[in-house]
């Protein structure tokens, strides 16, 4: 043996072998692919898409579905159906709900990827199959259901499962012999159902990272099923998304293209979109950001367990943010008092933080497009409010259990939504064409309806472009489609224009309006504004609020019906940003709203003859979200910013106040503070007992991210708690503390106002090193600056302003 080993390890043996390998067809293909595809910058030649962009069509599909092969689905009573059935359901065939009744899709899909959990895939099923290998393993005993019809037993096993994915992995369940077989079968089934041009079945799976009940799940999509690995990378190997990305990079380098789609940020307890440290506790840096955007091209914006676009507390001026909110922790024990975080759990805030990080740090980790999904564990998913069988087997599969507000792992099942859907703008219905579109983020998510939405951004879209029969190809030529970056502005261009177009789902409600959601950043702060850009009917925005009044509702709550008397079939316009500032990073995405229709709970309450639920709205406005388009100021743009950073302050000898000094400064005091970025002033009152309030913020004030609903707080004089600890004044956005450090400047340096006294600057913990708040020595006498001529009305004229009757 020793003789042979020596010769094997000698150079003359080793090299020829390696060379032989490299000259084999398989390896050289891999090597070539690796060369052209280093880190996702795929060469144009590799793009399989045929035809011109103008030929792209919206292909609708399901990117997130579980079958009995997922451990938890098996527990929910899904023992009957596997991936094969999922594809049959997607194509319009009747399959069985886990409870045994027939379910049919409302409208067959164009594509689907079955995303069974890669963790312990098939294990629950095997554990519950008497005589199977797994059923005899001691580690599998807690997975065996004593009584599958007993919800308490199911709950117990489910909680064990959740604890499994949070704990060190059970090696015996992870061997390729156990996990690899199921994966291989999965691919075979996808291949069987994949019919280029007709129906696309992806090779995909779910990476289910659930540490400390935080949902950090990702679906992984492979471009080419012929290149998938022997075994998917699951959260059992590592729960850190960073390790998944590392593995994905390796796969990509080996010629296996893939992308990840994160979902249920809303259930991540603030961990989906961190801005300071990653999941390993390391400071976020450029490499982390690049790794993230290289791999995570898309996020799921809506599914059965709620939407992850935004929350009313994060977007207080967005009147449609209060939609399908779901905030809980999957598997949280009944007696736990934990309150999940909202901050860090929503996509719009992440998009805004991404811009700020780009400006302040030079990298943006949160540049993603939108897709929808179901996350149903029933093999089939309900997309429509009149065909809603929810998503979790026996827990919500019976109408009487749903309408009884059954609490399933702490979740009132009435709060479940219909399944979301994904639209992909692709040349043809093939894996390559669809995957490439997903990679370039030319995708949109819907709440489950087949609304089609297009959005383009450019500098040269005339308002009459949409009259042109070739508007689509011109829109591509002169700008970028959704998911892309605005091209650089030509000389003389003042503001970008956005072409938006939407058509209703022929089997759902008419369209109410298209909105454009804009986010931008300045000096460490980020802002958002929602513009109504085109709408149905004769409506004018209301003076004062600027809001478009709602269309009259056609919903009859007693009958759970609606009509098409309101709303439009098709909406389109070219919109130019009226508030554009070329020096600021920004993003824009379109949101299309349907007219009000009855929510599924209303439909089922009427059918069942019970009261409408009072924990969810009676109606809903179905919607679609386009992927964003980003604007970046030209390289080398340096604005003459007068902003103050913590680094500036420290370099000039400013001193951070200690807890005691902070107490002396604010406790029991009323203080005027100015946000130097917006110029907005406000008065804060801090009492001695840990309560504060804010006065005088108008509803139109431009408030930076994570201010909470300040206008409401000030109007209603709502007090809130504050603490002083670790050199910070902490206030809270829901459960998340936002700290403010205060620095006492030594002289008259820095800042954007001349000052006679040493000043106090506040730096909020979410503003990336900027000290944007200045404590004023005295407040203003007036809060509004009226035009000069209006300030000059003599006393004798005062009666003219009283007893007024204004005639039209």
């Amino acid at each position: 043996m020793s003789i042979q080993r020596r010769s094997m390890c000698s150079g003359e043996w080793q090299r020829p072998i390696a060379d032989t390998l490299r000259s084999s067809v398989r390896l050289s293909t891999v090597a070539l692919a690796a060369l052209v595809s280093v880190f996702g910058l795929r060469a144009a030649a590799q793009d399989a898409s045929q035809g011109s962009p103008a030929d792209r069509k919206a292909f609708f599909g399901e990117q997130h579905i579980h079958t009995s092969w997922s451990v938890d689905a098996w527990l929910f009573g899904n023992h009957l159906t596997g991936p094969d059935d999922a594809y049959r359901y997607a194509r319009g065939e009747v399959i069985r709900h886990p409870l045994g009744y027939d379910i049919t899709i409302d409208k067959p899909l164009d594509w689907m990827g079955v995303t069974d959990h890669s963790e312990y895939v098939g294990i629950t099923k095997q554990a519950n199959t008497p005589g199977s290998a797994v059923s005899e393993m001691p580690q599998a005993q807690p997975l065996i259901l004593k009584d599958p019809n007993d919800p308490a037993d199911v709950q117990k096993v489910f909680n064990y499962l959740v604890s499994l994915v949070s704990k060190p992995p059970i090696k015996a369940f992870m061997t390729p012999q156990i996990a690899g077989t199921v994966w291989k079968e999965n691919i075979d089934i996808a291949n069987k159902h994949n019919k280029p041009g007709e129906f696309t079945a992806f090779c995909s799976y779910e990476f289910t990272s659930q540490v400390n009940l935080r949902n950090l799940h990702r679906n992984v999509y492979f471009r080419d099923c012929a290149k998938v690995p022997e075994q998917p990378y699951s959260a059992l190997f590592s729960w850190h998304p960073e390790d998944l990305w590392k593995w994905m990079d390796q796969q990509r380098q080996a010629g296996n293209e893939l992308l990840a789609i994160s979902h249920n940020a809303n259930l991540s307890d603030g961990w989906m979109y961190p801005t300071d440290v990653d999941s390993l506790g390391r400071p976020i840096d450029a490499a982390w950001a690049e790794s993230r955007i290289r791999n995570e091209r898309l996020i799921e914006i809506k599914q059965i367990k709620g939407q992850s676009e935004t929350h009313p507390l994060l977007s207080p001026n967005d009147e449609f943010a209060n939609y399908e909110i779901m905030s809980f922790l999957i598997g949280q024990p009944e007696d736990s008092g934990r309150v999940p975080a909202i901050v860090g759990s929503y996509a719009r805030q992440a998009l805004k933080d991404g811009l700020t990080m780009q400006e302040a740090k030079g990298y943006n980790p949160f540049k993603f497009g939108f897709v929808g999904g179901s996350d149903s564990h029933n093999t089939g998913a309900p997309y429509r409010t009149n065909n809603a069988f929810a998503g979790h087997g026996i827990n919500d599969g019976l109408v009487q259990r749903r309408m009884a507000g059954h609490l399933f792992t702490g979740m009132d099942v009435r709060k479940e939504s219909t399944a979301g859907l994904t639209g992909v703008w692709a040349e043809e219905n093939t894996r390559e064409s669809l995957w490439d579109a997903m990679h370039r983020r030319e995708t949109f998510g819907t709440s489950g309806v087949w609304i089609q939405v297009r959005m383009f951004g450019g500098w040269d879209y005339g308002s009459d472009l949409l009259q042109d029969a070739d508007w689509v190809s011109k829109a591509y030529e002169r700008g970028t489609a959704m998911g892309g970056d605005l091209p650089s502005a030509p000389a003389g261009a003042r503001a970008p224009s956005f072409l938006v177009w939407a058509v209703k789902d022929p089997e759902s409600g008419n369209l109410d309006r298209i909105q454009i959601v804009k986010g931008w950043t300045k000096d460490g702060q980020s802002f958002e504004k929602v513009y109504d850009v085109v709408w149905a009917g004769d409506r004018e925005p209301e003076p004062g609020t600027g809001r478009l009044p709602a269309l009259p509702s056609t919903v009859d709550l007693a009958a759970a019906t609606f009509t098409d008397e309101q709303g439009s079939t098709e909406l389109f316009t070219v919109w130019t940003d009226p508030d554009f500032d070329p020096s600021l990073h920004a993003f824009y995405y379109a949101r299309v709203l349907e007219i009000e229709t009855p929510r599924w709970t209303t439909v089922q309450a009427v059918k069942l003859g019970v009261d409408l639920p009072d924990t969810v709205p009676a109606t809903v406005q179905e919607r679609a979200w386009s992927s964003p388009i980003w604007y970046a100021p030209p390289e080398g743009t340096t604005t003459a910013s007068t902003s103050v950073t913590v680094a500036d302050l420290e370099a000039n000898g400013a001193k951070a106040l200690t807890d005691d000094e902070l107490k002396a400064l604010i406790a029991g005091k009323g203080i005027w503070v100015r946000n130097n970025v917006t110029g907005e002033v406000m008065k804060l009152r801090y009492d001695e007992k840990g309560t504060y309030d804010v006065s005088y913020v108008g509803a139109r004030a431009q408030l930076p991210s994570l201010s909470g609903d300040l206008p409401r707080k000030t109007y209603e004089m709502l007090a809130a708690p504050y603490t002083i600890a670790n050199g910070q004044i902490n206030t809270f956005v829901s459960s998340t503390p936002i700290g403010m450090k205060v620095y006492q400047a030594t002289g008259t340096h820095a800042g954007n106002t001349a000052r006679k006294h040493a000043a106090y600057y506040g730096a909020r913990s979410n503003e990336f090193g900027y000290a944007n708040y200045e404590i004023l020595l005295e407040g203003p006498a007036n809060l509004v600056e009226l035009p000069k001529d209006k300030m000059d009305i003599p006393v004798s004229d005062q009666p003219n302003y009283l007893g007024v009757t204004i005639e039209k």
Partner: protein
């Protein structure tokens, strides 16, 4: 068996270290000897690797790291492999393979894969496929397809008048030549297409809604009809051509036929292999402690094999 398919089957075996030194017994022995030269008796304390074995180690490394291993890494690879082989042999010597349910189940699965692979290894002749197709062609039936032209009356532009306007336009169209379509000034711009060629009802429903697809299925071809309501508004429709549902000629679906044939061959091969194996065995169950009407099995009575041929 062609060289390529042989390699494929061999590769599948070769990738699985679990089976490397397992003698599978009589069932597949003929094939197996062809596939793997390692069935020869080995000296208990000699571990011998072939060029292929080493190549496989390197390949495994390269797929993971996208580069060849360094000398040190290569040594470690070999040492790992040696360790695995030694422990494996020692485990075999202790009979640890006998009661391990994972090993048992895995090997049973392998049997199935192998049987299926062997079925897949044979290229069917065209004649064979054709004859199979003749018996199974209902699986390939094509849905009816329609070609139609339509004129759109937009509720966005016409509100409640859309239907009436469409009806009026139909009056105008009747009596004119059937070709009078474009440039007629009738109707509104439609957001998708004005003409749809050879679409299944499902494809039409996808664009217009299910109700519309049903309605136009009933229309008389060659004349303008309507108004027909869709989810997008009102339409005048002229069906040009109806292609009835039909069973395609073999040549049109040859590839699909081959896939389906293969699937059936696999299932069939597996059923047969298992039947053969099952036929060799007699299964004895213990006598139930309490005699009951349903309990017919006794040690003296062989159990009938289950009808599904499944494992």
């Amino acid at each position: 068996m062609s060289q390529t398919t042989l390699k494929r089957v061999l590769g599948r075996f070769a990738r699985d270290p679990l089976l490397h030194f397992l003698v599978l017994g009589g069932v597949m022995s003929g094939v197996f000897v062809l596939l793997d030269d390692r069935t020869e008796a080995l000296m208990p304390t000699e571990i011998r690797y072939t060029v292929d074995d080493v190549a496989r180690l390197i390949l495994g490394f390269e797929t993971q790291w996208n580069r060849p291993p360094t000398q040190a890494e290569f040594n470690a690879l070999v040492e790992d492999r040696v360790r695995e082989d030694i422990l494996y042999r020692e485990a075999l010597a202790l009979g640890l393979d006998k009661d391990d349910t994972i090993v048992r189940r895995r090997m049973a699965q392998k049997m199935q894969f192998l049987a299926e692979d062997i079925a897949a290894a044979r290229e069917p002749t065209i004649a064979e496929l054709k004859s199979w197709y003749a018996d199974n062609n209902r699986l390939f039936e094509m849905a009816p397809r329609l070609s139609f032209r339509h004129i759109y009356f937009s509720p966005d532009r016409r509100g409640k008048n859309a239907q009436a306007d469409a009806a009026a336009a139909l009056e105008e169209l009747s009596g004119t030549s059937a070709d009078r379509v474009e440039g007629s000034g009738l109707g509104d711009r439609f957001m998708f297409q004005d003409y749809y060629g050879e679409r299944s009802l499902q494809a039409i429903a996808r664009e217009f809604g299910a109700g519309f697809a049903q309605s136009i299925d009933d229309l008389q071809p060659g004349v303008w009809s309507g108004p027909v309501q869709s989810g997008l508004g009102w339409h005048l429709v002229r069906v040009d051509k109806v292609i009835a549902g039909r069973v395609p000629r073999f040549e049109e679906v040859a590839n699909e036929v081959k896939t389906a044939w293969l699937g059936q061959q696999k299932a069939e091969a597996w059923r047969k292999s298992y039947d053969e194996m099952r036929a060799k065995y007699t299964v004895l169950l213990p006598v139930p402690e309490v005699e009951s009407p349903g309990a017919a099995a006794s040690p003296a009575q062989p159990v009938d094999r289950p009808g599904d041929g499944g494992s």
